[in-house]
């Protein structure tokens, strides 16, 4: 089973090269190859999830070098869950890209798509801080290409900001990693956690500062206040399937905070144990308040969805900042929900924009779009799920997070922010829904494109995650509790990584 740990990283890499060469066989070959590989990834990640449920950390030593010296890939419940969400989201967004022929608008869409998955899966699987940086860069470089795919003035402008912000983030990442290496002399996350626990007192200030610098870097990825300003423009101006795939990119930041900070500065870290959580909690609350205002102020549907993504990320940050196994379990439940539904919502926003012709997704009245009832019902469904109203999974996730916050000193503050932000987003979504679907003009404009039925499958597929999460709430929360417990048991992670022996050569 050791090899299974390397596959989700290797398959998209090999797949990327295969798809690149498949260019000679035409777009159809590229499409089917890409779909096949993503389907394969889904199967592999389901298999990984099964393996991870045994509760044992699967550690893959690349090059057969034992842990603190070589680079390791670690499969545990959290990474298995993240890889599964990524591949499901990728399947939906790829299907949409093929159905709407967005991939024709520039070259190498499919190659970049595979490399993006390579970077994402690598970031989820790696157990090494510098390797995390490298996978971040792989992921970002592919995302730059995808973001600019199809080009356009606004897209270029948003892309320029996105690239510059992320390059500054990369520099800060290197400063943080360098300072940590200088202080503790290792890069392996597990080894670093073990060494931070016994670090001499005079080094702790330096280590804490480097840890907070690292938090800034992950905050840029997770779009934490005040580092979120790049997100709305970048997500609103890129093509729909790319925006949908990017719904997981903010979660990479959340994941990295949970993985790196939760392990290195976890329970065993002595004076530095969980010193970062008040920052995450406070900034999460600020982000949520500002995201709600952004949802109110958005001028187009895609921008609104981008702010909704920001709101969901902020809710996740609050969950992480609460710092208890129950809150972490609720966070994971909400993470599954928000990633898949936000992806579907970006795709739906694009369908609305296509249906309204040249007016696009702007909040002004337009002629009735074709199949308005179908799209409108889906919009209603997505709005209910995203804003966290009953009966869908967004509500359940928020309730679980608030429930776990009960014993916190800041409980009423958290309650107020979450509920007021929820109310503001509901009002804003109700307003945009009635503008888009009720206040229509008589048909004297050019009507938009007819509804693309094949593309609708992707939206429905991603949205179906929400009712499924409600119906199977018990087993899913049972699973997320296991994930959270394993995540909080960082001692077993450290032990598993550091004691995995190298494979003996067969003579």
């Amino acid at each position: 089973m050791m090899q299974l740990t390397a596959w989700p990283v290797l398959l998209p890499l090999i797949g990327g090269f295969l798809v690149l060469f498949a260019r000679m066989g035409g777009l159809r070959l590229q499409r089917s190859l890409n779909l096949l590989i993503v389907l394969g990834l889904v199967l592999i990640s389901i298999e990984m999830l099964k393996v991870s449920l045994t509760g044992v950390h699967q550690v893959y030593l690349s090059g057969n070098w034992i842990a603190p010296f070589g680079i390791v890939f670690v499969l545990d419940k959290l990474s298995a869950m993240m890889v599964l969400i990524t591949s499901l989201l990728a399947l939906g967004s790829l299907w949409y890209a093929i159905a709407t022929k967005i991939d024709e608008k520039g070259s190498h869409f499919h190659v970049l798509f595979q490399l993006q998955l390579f970077g994402l899966n690598g970031a989820f699987m790696t157990g090494d801080l510098f390797n995390l940086f490298v996978f971040f860069e792989v992921m970002l470089l592919a995302s730059y290409g995808l973001l600019l795919h199809g080009s356009g003035r606004l897209r270029t402008k948003a892309g320029l900001h996105y690239v510059v912000i992320n390059m500054i983030g990369a520099t800060l990442f290197l400063f943080a990693v360098g300072a940590l290496y200088g202080a503790v002399g290792t890069l392996n996350i597990a080894d670093m956690a073990a060494k931070v626990a016994v670090a001499p007192a005079e080094n702790q200030g330096l280590i804490a500062a480097a840890g907070l610098l690292l938090l800034i870097v992950f905050g840029v990825k997770a779009a934490m206040f005040p580092l979120y300003l790049w997100l709305p423009a970048a997500y609103a101006n890129t093509s729909a399937p790319v925006a949908a795939l990017f719904a997981i990119m903010t979660k990479v930041g959340i994941y990295s905070i949970i993985r790196a900070h939760g392990t290195i500065f976890g329970e065993g870290a002595g004076d530095l144990a969980f010193y970062w959580t008040p920052w995450v909690l406070g900034l999460g609350m600020l982000t949520l308040a500002l995201a709600a205002l952004g949802v109110m102020a958005a001028r187009g549907l895609r921008e609104q969805v981008a702010y909704l993504v920001l709101a969901s990320v902020a809710t996740l940050l609050i969950g992480v900042g609460l710092n208890s196994p129950a809150a972490m379990s609720a966070t994971f439940y909400y993470l599954i929900h928000s990633t898949l539904v936000a992806g579907g919502m970006f795709l739906l926003a694009d369908m609305v924009a296509r249906g309204r012709g040249e007016i696009g997704d702007k909040f002004t009245s337009a002629p009735i779009m074709p199949n308005a009832i179908m799209i409108g019902s889906l919009f209603m469904f997505g709005a209910v799920a995203m804003t966290g109203m009953p009966p869908l999974s967004g509500f359940l996730g928020k309730v679980l997070i608030l429930q776990s916050a009960l014993e916190q000193a800041w409980f009423f503050g958290i309650l107020a922010v979450v509920l007021i932000a929820g109310l503001l987003t509901i009002v804003a979504m109700a307003r945009s829904g009635s503008l888009l679907f009720y206040r229509t003009q008589p048909v004297n404009h050019l009507p938009g494109e007819p509804m693309n039925k094949a593309a609708l499958i992707a939206v429905v597929g991603l949205f179906s995650a929400s009712p499924l999460l409600v119906i199977f709430a018990n087993p899913v929360t049972g699973f997320t509790e296991l994930v959270a417990l394993q995540q909080f048991d960082s001692a077993s992670y450290i032990e598993a990584v550091l004691t995995t022996p190298a494979i003996e050569r067969v003579k």
Binding site: V163, V177, Y181
Partner: protein, 141 residues
């Protein structure tokens, strides 16, 4: 040596931050390059400064320098080069599409006009009927 290295890193970081905060794409690219250099030197010194110590195995050596930061710096240099090259191409593309090299593509100097407007002016100049209209519209510099 420590003081000199620290000064070098500090000055390069300061210059990099200053240039990155400029509003034009070319200084931004230069600033990010400066920052990348600063972080590379910083990474290198994190293995402690030593003189005359080999990084890889040498039977005659009295001690060893830390080889890991050197490996890290190599990776970081390659990535920074790739990213900078990409950013330069993107900045050129933005210059072409947005009409100027401001990072927001909006703020025009008095004598600048976005490309579409230039095309419009040219088109107007070609057809004599529009000259009146043009002179009404385009008086403002």
């Amino acid at each position: 040596m420590e003081l000199l290295i620290a000064l070098v890193i500090g000055v390069m970081t300061t210059a990099g931050v200053y240039l990155t905060l400029r509003a034009r794409t070319f200084p931004v690219v230069l600033g990010l390059t400066m920052l990348a250099y600063a972080v590379n030197v910083f990474l290198f010194t994190m293995g402690r400064l030593t003189i005359g110590m080999p990084a890889v195995i040498d039977p005659t050596a009295a001690g060893y320098g830390d080889p890991l930061p050197q490996a890290l710096v190599l990776t970081a240099i390659v990535i920074a080069f790739g990213m900078t090259a990409f950013l330069i191409v993107l900045a050129l593309k933005a210059r072409g599409e947005l009409g100027n090299d401001h990072v927001d593509g909006l703020h025009l100097a008095a004598n600048e006009a976005p490309y579409e407007k230039l095309d419009q002016i040219k088109a107007n100049q070609q057809s004599p009927n529009n000259i009146m209209q043009q002179s009404n519209q385009e008086v403002k510099p």
